[in-house]
């Protein structure tokens, strides 16, 4: 997942929100290695607060989290006109239905590869999911 020459706008800030520490840290470590600037949140409320404060370039968010679900976080941000590009991640078999219902075009089914992760983050930033 190395950057292409067209990626001149790095470093980009990504907020990774997932309650599973192992998974969140694995994701954060990898994308940091690829040059992203990473912030982490371990539940829905923390994700909401971080997104409000940091205004990341992209929000990579799990759906099933304590506090607020990923979809609830996204809805609250939109209600506050914080229009950050979102990548919804989940191991849920109905991820597409969930994301469609919330109007989130970028989604990633767990487990995924480093290439898939990098690809969807870049597409999300460019609004091309």
């Amino acid at each position: 997942m190395s950057r292409t020459s067209s990626d001149t706008d790095f470093p980009r800030r990504v907020l990774v929100a997932d309650d599973d520490d192992e998974f969140r840290c694995a994701v954060a470590d990898l994308i940091e290695l690829d040059g992203w600037c990473v912030c982490q949140a371990s539940d829905g409320r923390q994700a909401l607060d971080c997104a409000r404060e940091l205004r990341p370039d992209v929000l990579l968010i799990d759906h099933r989290m304590p506090g607020l679900t990923g979809v609830e976080v996204v809805r609250k941000l939109r209600a506050e006109r914080i229009l950050v590009p979102v990548v919804m991640v989940s191991a849920a078999h109905d991820l597409d239905d969930l994301a469609d219902a919330a109007g989130i075009p970028c989604r990633l089914l767990k487990p995924f590869s480093f290439d898939e992760l990098g690809g969807v983050l870049r597409r999300a930033v460019r609004g091309r999911c």
């Binding site: 599973d20 192992e22 470590d29 099933r64 989290m65 191991a91 078999h93 590869s113």
Partner: protein, 399 residues
């Protein structure tokens, strides 16, 4: 210790001439493999592997497509770890027939390519090699140059490790084939971790099939589906750790890579363990009662329900589970009873609460029991011995 290539070559030439093997010269696993090949009548002068007829090979690839698909990301990871070196990552089935090969163009398609899909690499057909020998040996094996039994493979350094399916039986074998020993060294831990990754992926696919069945037939289906998603996180994290290790190995940070691979392997072990636990809870099978550690079973279920309790805003506090607590029960039935007792307790609890889970042994009445916030309503009791009878008033499980 590295074998001496000159001496190994001499042993091979001697074998070709006299069909006898000296004792204590070849490395142990190689010596055993050569003796198996000798017994099976393999030819040391063969230049390549036999192949299945094309139609038979095609049917086999179709039949094993699940294993092939599950292995692809891990074979690519192995290929990436080799970098620009001549290499091939190979997948074989449980009969040592090659199913898939990923590598550089020369190794896969060139004049001196490795055997491709459909090639039969059992020791009796192809001598000691990175596909047939791990299966025959039942574990990891490495073959350097002339340690391969047949002459046609002397160019390669190969290593392989069996892959177990979700049922515990051998599903196939993962192998690498390179030209330089140093490259093989660099790939050893990645190979092992990748094999565990494939086993985890096969298990994940089994879980998905189980969930589909459950959703159609079981009231607990939705909850079990969510729990399966929690379990899958471990496999997802392990896979990303492996991918990072590959990047580190390629940038000569071998020590960091090895540490990360150990983490990934441990995550996959935990994934397999939780998957097995999940499957036992989801099934309706029963088995013979046996002595089991009740305390460990409680800890396992609490770990499985970590996310579920967290989503519900309930903190779990386990007491009395530090020491083993032997009870007499059927393993799967006990797991299901504990699982339901936890859920029952969750339903009686509310967000922001701490749920005190206390396990105790009562020798006087011959039971071990667990209670939730001291409530008799949700308590569960299990006999300590075969003769013990579950006493009245210490119930609450939903069986």
């Amino acid at each position: 210790m590295r074998p001496n290539a000159r001496i190994t070559n001499e042993v091979w030439r001697h074998y070709v001439a006299a069909r006898t093997l000296p004792d204590d010269v070849l490395r142990g696993p190689v010596d055993r493999a050569w003796r198996r090949c000798d017994l099976a009548g393999a030819s040391p002068l063969a230049m390549n592997a036999q192949e299945l007829p094309p139609l038979q090979a095609q049917a086999l690839l179709q039949e094993r497509s699940d294993l092939i698909e599950a292995s692809r990301p891990y074979m690519h990871a192995l290929s990436q770890a080799a970098g620009p070196e001549r290499h091939a990552a190979m997948l074989g089935d449980d009969n040592a027939v090659v199913l898939d090969v990923v590598g550089d163009a020369e190794s896969v398609h060139g004049r001196q390519r490795v055997p491709g899909p459909g090639a039969v690499l059992s020791e009796s057909h192809a001598g000691a090699n990175g596909i047939g020998s791990p299966l025959a040996e039942g574990g990891y094996i490495e073959l350097i140059g002339p340690e391969h039994f047949i002459e046609g493979f002397h160019l390669f350094t190969c290593q392989g490790v069996p892959i177990n399916g979700p049922d515990g039986k051998t599903a196939g074998v993962l192998s690498t084939s390179v030209r330089r020993i140093e490259v093989s060294d660099r790939m050893r831990e990645i190979l092992y971790c990748a094999a565990k990754g494939i086993e985890a992926e096969l298990m994940r696919r089994r879980l998905m099939a189980d969930v589909a069945q459950l959703l159609a037939s079981n009231n607990d289906g939705k909850l079990l589906e969510e729990l399966e998603q929690d379990v899958v996180q471990l496999q997802g994290a392990a896979r990303l750790r492996l991918e990072k290790a590959v990047l580190l190995a390629r940038s000569e940070r071998q020590d960091d890579a090895v540490r990360l691979l150990a983490t990934a392997t441990e995550l996959m072990r935990r994934f397999q363990q939780r998957s097995q636990l999940w499957r036992e809870i989801a099934s309706s099978d029963i088995g013979p009662p046996q002595y089991l550690d009740f305390a460990m079973y409680l800890q396992d279920i609490a770990a499985l329900l970590t996310t579920e309790s967290s989503v519900r805003g309930i903190e779990l506090q386990l007491h009395g589970t530090d020491a083993p607590m032997m009870v007499f029960a059927d393993s799967r039935d006990l797991r299901r009873r504990i699982f339901r007792a936890f859920l029952h307790a969750f339903e009686g609890s509310s967000a922001g609460r701490t749920l005190r889970i206390e396990a105790v042994v009562n020798e006087a009445i011959g039971v071990a029991s667990v209670s939730f916030d001291g409530s008799r309503e949700t308590a569960l009791a299990v006999p300590l011995r075969p003769t013990a009878i579950e006493p009245e008033g210490v119930r609450g499980d939903l069986r």
